[in-house]
């Protein structure tokens, strides 16, 4: 059974509720994985609604985020015409 590092110690994944999320925009491709305890009392698990703080449940015990940037920065170089 896979072990998951959490803020209450390493736990078996079977003891947790996992939620995966993917955000894909022009700026980034972001995946996140969040774990809550199976008896989580967070609002998201009482109401089914995300907590709106960038995560699904405010009572989660693990959240990892993986961001792939899509919008590099470009410096334009200009050779000004002579006048």
């Amino acid at each position: 059974m896979a072990k998951v590092p959490t803020i209450v110690g390493e736990m078996d994944e079977a003891q947790l509720i996992r939620r995966d999320d993917v955000v894909d925009t022009d700026i980034e491709h972001t995946t996140s994985v969040e774990y809550c305890l199976t008896d989580c009392q967070g609002a998201a698990h009482r109401t089914g609604q995300a907590s709106g703080t960038g995560c699904f449940c405010e009572r989660h015990v693990h959240r990892s985020v993986h961001v792939t940037l899509k919008q590099p920065l470009e410096l334009g170089c200009i050779a000004q015409p002579l006048t």
Binding site: E28, C55, V65, H66, K70, L73, P81
Partner: protein, 150 residues
């Protein structure tokens, strides 16, 4: 054949390699690449083009995160077409961190040269709890290289 007005592509690569100094420059310790770091900043911070050096104002804090962020290296600058480019050589990873206050920016800066700022990249606001925050770098080429001189 006709002459073409242009900034040479080789010059663009050489800028990234610190070859030219149009003004007062610094005494360098050697010919190797400088050391660079990547620091994370809160969504409430005001990082951007006006930054000159890294400082802790608005930087994230939390378990597993050290002020100043983590070190990374650049791929040796090169060019394709008329664009010079470089990118971090690997994903930038903050391992086993808890960052409870939302953050949405990373500042890349030169820790060999007085922590001078290089670039700020933003992304969707995030928090991390007892896990990793990973910034994966796009393909290093003239189109998606993270830092480009076109």
């Amino acid at each position: 054949m006709a002459n073409t007005q242009a900034i040479t592509t080789s010059f663009k690569v050489q800028i990234l390699n610190g070859i030219h100094a149009f003004g007062t420059t610094v005494v360098r310790g050697g010919t190797g690449a400088d050391a660079f770091k990547a620091a994370l900043f809160l969504a409430s911070a005001s990082r951007g083009a006006g930054d000159t050096v890294y400082n802790t104002t608005g930087e994230v804090s939390g378990s597993g995160y050290s002020a100043g962020g983590v070190a990374f290296t650049w791929i040796a600058p090169t060019s394709s077409g008329t664009t010079a480019f470089s990118s971090p050589s690997a994903s930038i990873v903050y391992t086993a961190v808890t960052l409870a206050t939302a953050f949405d920016a990373v500042l890349l800066y030169n820790s060999s040269q007085g922590d001078k700022a290089v670039a700020v990249y933003t992304f969707g606001s995030q928090t991390v709890t007892g896990g990793n925050f990973t910034l994966t770098i796009p393909t290093n080429d003239a189109v998606t290289g993270l830092l480009r001189l076109a």
